[in-house]
């Protein structure tokens, strides 16, 4: 069994613990694929506007908006998804008849658990099936919620044995379970808690969903500053004698300079250890994609482009 690499699949879910740069990575991936000439749909599931901010465009709605030659952007809206679904499947003008749809929707969503999740995943599977795009990059829910979302079709399938919904979950499961079409990437940073959560999540993805984990992206890897010998030299500089000599030669206070470098090296060291833990815990065949810490002034298009370039370097 040789499934294609993550980037060659049509439906790509990108998840990760909050704060690790999940959205930036999703945006960079979408940018990279669009630059390669693929028709790309990038979708933000949490609808906070962060994905739009990564491209510096206004927050999109449920209907995809073109923001570049090959790149469209949409925000998930489960109520709009339900509306679209009802229009496509029931072929009755239900929308006008059922009273305030929002209220009915809230009701259904609360009454039948998994409805919001299935409407989210369903819309994405629908786009994958329609093949209007070569790649659908999903800035998916954070680690705490992704399992509920990806497992929703299976959960509904277990609950509902007949009816329209049942026939819907079957084809969704076909797409989600197919490693040629669908893959999940977990974004993490080489820090203790994100790594621990990534390892835990990788296990849950395998046990509780039918989606294949296709790559782990490690963001914010710090550059190697010193070799072992340079490290010794630096330690000599940090002694009182070293500080005095350096300050005298430079003619300036050097405390801040040395502190910053100490911070950089100890961060680097602890991150390298966490990266090792991650490697050791994942299947040896699991692709691990490394992205550097960007010491950038702002987020936005420039950071997104930098990430896209690094991804291209790692993946192509």
């Amino acid at each position: 069994m040789s499934a294609p690499p993550l980037v060659d699949r049509r439906l790509i879910f990108v998840t990760g613990k909050g704060g690790v740069g999940k959205t930036t990575v999703a945006a960079g991936l979408a940018q990279m694929l669009a630059d390669e000439g693929r028709r790309v749909l990038a979708c933000e599931v949490d609808a906070k506007g962060d994905l739009a901010a990564a491209f510096e465009v206004p927050a999109p709605g449920f209907t995809p908006e073109r923001i570049g030659d090959n790149l469209s952007l949409m925000a998930m809206d489960t109520e709009a998804s339900l509306r679209e679904y009802l229009k496509l499947n029931l072929k009755i003008p239900i929308v006008g008849r059922i009273g305030p749809l929002a209220k009915a929707f809230d009701f259904v969503a609360t009454a039948a658990p998994g409805v919001k999740e299935i409407l989210t995943v369903g819309k994405l599977c629908f786009e994958a099936r329609e093949k209007n795009y070569d790649s659908i990059v999903v800035d998916a829910s954070a680690t705490g919620h992704i399992i509920g979302q990806l497992a929703a079709p299976q959960a509904i399938n277990d609950l509902v044995r007949v009816g329209l919904i049942r026939s819907q979950t079957d084809w969704m499961l076909d797409i989600l379970s197919d490693p040629v079409q669908t893959g999940l990437a977990i974004v993490t940073t080489p820090e203790e808690m994100p790594v621990a959560e990534t390892i835990e999540l990788a296990g849950k993805v395998a046990a509780e969903t039918t989606v294949e984990l296709a790559a782990v992206v490690v963001n914010r890897v710090l550059p190697e500053r010193f070799g072992p010998r340079d490290e010794e030299v630096f330690s000599s500089l940090e002694t009182p004698a070293g500080r005095t000599a350096l300050a005298a030669a430079l003619g300036e206070d050097v405390t801040a300079l040395l502190d910053a470098t100490r911070l950089a090296t100890s961060l680097r060291r602890s991150r390298a250890a966490h990266l090792e833990t991650l490697r050791a815990s994942l299947d040896t065949s699991m692709p691990i994609i490394l992205l550097p810490e960007l010491f950038a002034r702002t987020d936005g298009v420039r950071a997104t482009r930098q990430i896209a370039e690094h991804l291209e370097g790692e993946l192509r």
């Binding site: 909050g18 704060g19 209220k103 609950l159 044995r161 009816g163 405390t255």
Partner: protein
């Protein structure tokens, strides 16, 4: 320690401190560090309740496992240079499934109804897999623990919610749901044995979408739940009142990075809109001020430009290889420059932050990860340091 630390003040005055904020900023750790400080310095019985599905708190507290049941953190675990703790620290985790079961048992009129609800496949799914139920039960459990009166202070961290304050809306959504007309439509036929005229179109549509069997499960589930209606709504309202009570305050936790800060600002505005108390905003992982100092940048530039010359002067004095020193000096200049960019950007973002009048507490970035009580106490000391 004087009383001028805003965090220590909150910990001493309130009964419930809710740590909320974007994911990945150290919310859980901050909650645990604050609770440990309260137990250490202020005394009383302090409980830290984690509702995060990722089980991180046990690691930091040095407890093997935190369960739904309250566990005491042994006092010797946090004896410090300042002495033994004056209070006691306890920890508990939210077990969604177990808490739901308890709730059902408490509110159903008889064991048979409880058993019927728990056997329903819908119930098993609601409690096991889905997210909103987590939000609701978190607040419910907090209320439950608070009303036992056993705790002087409960510090709770909140689930990483999809929408900023889902967990706050959960009780009222639950109450709305039970009072909704649609629910009455749906369960009317089951109760009367007849199809109420009004419910017919809805039932037909629902039947087409969901299938009869599933619809039957839903109906049965809510008919059973109906017996809990009064207790549930009353309870949900009580939970909402407790959140708004002056005994409760919110600690908005964030880092100084752009995206989390934007989210934290939104949290603050939402809390203010709801007339809830924003006790303080805690910004974690703040880089040292010296990095944003323009003097430092000039020094770094000088070091980079004159590395050869400076190495010539210094190498002999400290007895290191001159060539290696040139390299090291270049690296120092470069690494200072890199971090200075980040530090300046974050300092700018902090100064623009709208905290809604609440004090802003900056906690410096630590070199090492926190994985034991000593680390938690060190973080706590920074958290309660005077501004």
């Amino acid at each position: 320690m004087s009383g001028s630390s805003p965090i220590l003040e909150l910990l001493g005055q309130r009964e419930i401190v809710v740590a909320c904020g974007p994911g990945g900023v150290g919310k859980t750790t901050t909650a645990a560090a604050a609770a440990a400080q309260a137990a250490l310095r202020l005394g009383g019985r302090v409980l830290v309740l984690t509702v995060d599905p990722a089980r991180r708190l046990a690691d930091a507290l040095g407890i093997k496992e935190i369960g739904n049941e309250v566990t005491e953190v042994p006092a010797e675990a946090f004896v410090t240079a300042d002495g033994a703790p004056v209070g006691r620290l306890f920890a508990a985790m939210l077990d969604t499934k177990k808490s739901w079961d308890d709730l059902i048992e408490r509110h159903t009129p008889d064991p048979a109804t409880a058993a019927r609800i728990m056997a329903n496949p819908l119930y098993q799914n609601i409690t096991g897999r889905f997210i909103q139920s987590h939000d609701y039960i978190a607040m419910e459990r907090l209320y439950e623990l608070h009303s036992t009166g056993e705790w002087d202070l409960i510090v709770v961290d909140t689930p990483p919610t999809r929408n900023a304050l889902d967990f706050l809306d959960a009780p009222s959504r639950m109450a709305d749901f039970f009072s909704s007309r649609l629910l009455r439509w749906l369960i009317a036929p089951a109760r009367s044995g007849l199809f109420a005229v009004a419910s017919k179109p809805f039932t037909q549509v629902a039947d087409r979408i969901l299938g009869t069997e599933f619809l039957g499960d839903i109906t049965e589930f809510f008919v059973s739940l109906q017996s809990m209606y009064g207790g549930f709504v009353e309870r949900a309202n009580a939970v909402a009142r407790l959140m708004a009570d002056e005994r409760t305050t919110f600690l908005v936790v964030s880092s100084s990075e752009t995206v989390p800060l934007r989210e934290a600002e939104f949290f603050v505005s939402q809390l203010v809109d709801r007339n809830l108390s924003v006790g303080a905003v805690v910004l974690n992982k703040v880089l040292p001020d010296s990095l944003a100092d323009p003097g430092g940048l000039a020094a770094a530039r000088g070091l980079g430009e004159r590395a050869g010359e400076i190495a010539g002067e210094v190498a002999q004095v400290i007895g290191v290889d001159e060539e290696a020193l040139v390299r090291v000096l270049g690296t120092i200049a470069e690494s200072y420059g890199d971090f200075a960019v980040t530090a300046r950007r974050e300092a700018g973002a902090r100064s623009r932050f709208e905290a809604g009048g609440a004090p802003l507490v900056s906690v410096p970035r630590l070199d090492e990860d926190i994985h034991d009580m000593a680390g938690l106490l060190a973080l706590g000391n920074l958290l309660i340091a005077e501004p």
